[in-house]
Symmetry: C2
Subunit: 366 residues, 2 copies
Amino acid sequence: MTDATLTAVYELHGGDAERRAHALAVEQSHELPTELAPEHTRRSSLARVVALDEPRDDYALATIEYPAALAGDELPQLLVLLLGNGSLQEGVRIVDVDLPTDLLSRFPGPRLGVEGVRARVRAEGRPLLATALKPVGLSVVELASLAYELAAGGIDIVKDDQGLANQHWAPFSERVQRVSEAVARANADTGGSAVYLPAVNPPVDRFEGRLAEVRSAGAGGALIVPGVGGFDQLRRAGEVLDGVVLAHPSFLGGFTASREHGIAPDVLFGLLLRIAGADAAIFPSWGGRFSFTREECERIAARSAAPLDGIAPILPAPGGGMTVERVPELVDAYGRDVLLLIGADLQRGGDPRAAAERFRAAAESV
Amino acid sequence: MTDATLTAVYELHGGDAERRAHALAVEQSHELPTELAPEHTRRSSLARVVALDEPRDDYALATIEYPAALAGDELPQLLVLLLGNGSLQEGVRIVDVDLPTDLLSRFPGPRLGVEGVRARVRAEGRPLLATALKPVGLSVVELASLAYELAAGGIDIVKDDQGLANQHWAPFSERVQRVSEAVARANADTGGSAVYLPAVNPPVDRFEGRLAEVRSAGAGGALIVPGVGGFDQLRRAGEVLDGVVLAHPSFLGGFTASREHGIAPDVLFGLLLRIAGADAAIFPSWGGRFSFTREECERIAARSAAPLDGIAPILPAPGGGMTVERVPELVDAYGRDVLLLIGADLQRGGDPRAAAERFRAAAESV
């Protein structure tokens, strides 16, 4: 057994930091007053506060050190450990996590990562392009036609909207089959290498079956909703599909909507989802329909690319109301290792293929 | 196909309510500006605001009506629909959900419910009792011994702490086997009917295997962590185990830590987890280590018991630092259809069996 430790840094908002930091260390490990814990467990499995920086009365940074064995080499337990019960407390926000090499090696991280995704879609050096098939309510024929146009126009990754599940308008099996065929046809017609990522967010006992359908349809990967199905679905999707695994932020906003609670966006989108197995993680970019700042977004990009003990960098995927006009500004902020996600803007004007071509041209000219 | 609708009521904090309510209806359904949506999808799959009550400039209640077909009869998609992208917006909080009978009938709800759990542990009329095996770091032998004492003392439900996963101190398979045996022995020795609920929160492709182990060990159900593994694990655990399914709130706090964002606690713990298949849902009670108010807690209990189109009532399971002394006060607030969860307090004094007996006596005398 190893004596390795992992550390996490928490912002504590609202004062009383010293008491709360110690209580958090106990809560996240023993969840039992220490005077009641057998001596051997105090040595082996109790977390402790190793630093407390309190620049203001109502704000502190607490660094908590955990025996790495508490994670039990399993991602779901790592999440429980980092912020399980702590998430239920007001004013607790995780802003950094440092895992030892031994523990990191138990998590595969992204199967493809930045370079792997680039190889799949044959795109060197330039920003990568994604779009979403929507609205829900379109038929399979309509979705397949839209996917064809977008892929033929030069989009690298054509994904289902996360709201496409198994509704009667476009049932999963038929949709995956027909849209995969449409994207393959577009590739054949144009010499492109677009991939289609169906949304896979089913009842828990249908997850493997849906992945198998995606695989046999020849789709190039999947869109996973870790906030609903669990972060570990990312790893499993990569393993089964050997394709692009894209994480969608739906239902994750509980952790990010407050700046005094939850998980800092860079830790969530650039570290935890990366460890979990996403090749790219969608998040709401600044200037769109949601509320991250440009600085927060740039931090996500930095985390996505930061060295991580052999775990490959992943693509930040800013979305949420982006437009083709903003491509230069977005690339300026995120760099070229980015998956630019533009949805609705490509449907303006009624010619998605032409809009996709403009998007592609914009990305190639930055 | 049905034209049934489901409605959800959202609090909007921070002003600009009319625009935001309409934007939310679009975001949660089409996620595409309506002028770009084909006419047939505007009729079939677009949500709309059916009521907006704005008592103050910075606070409004918006009722949004969704075509029920958007949920596609699948729980993960229902969650995406109710608060997927909406969760990423500040100041959006879901406070009520009304599902049509047709859609509700697709979700089994709790397999046992209040009456079923009572039958399993042979407890009529009185409050039910639960406790947690902790701290992590105890060996299997220590956990089994503790479980024996607690079960012999009259606790109905002896559950793993949610932080017990598959760590080396007490590996899952061995723990489930030995603790199940210990609780069965306690039942045989005392004529009791306690059940043991192992924590099942593994990597996604080990979920079925762990459930099978729980079943073959003869444990009486499972503790599920829906915030980590997904809400739908509750249903599946009930289906496989035909036992008590207890939901733990770990990692769910992103939705409840703010009163201006996320999911109202009664909707989360008394409605959504109930629909999803929990027989009982743990939440942090007022007066403990966390921060719900008494009124919020009583609302959880009311929701857990409210008629729901044939879906059985479930047990609210208040926890998080409760004590035996508080049993009368807790029962006064929650009523007798409650699963009282007391952890650490039963380990004070070094005689868990005696403490369990006091807990049981307190519950029998209210």
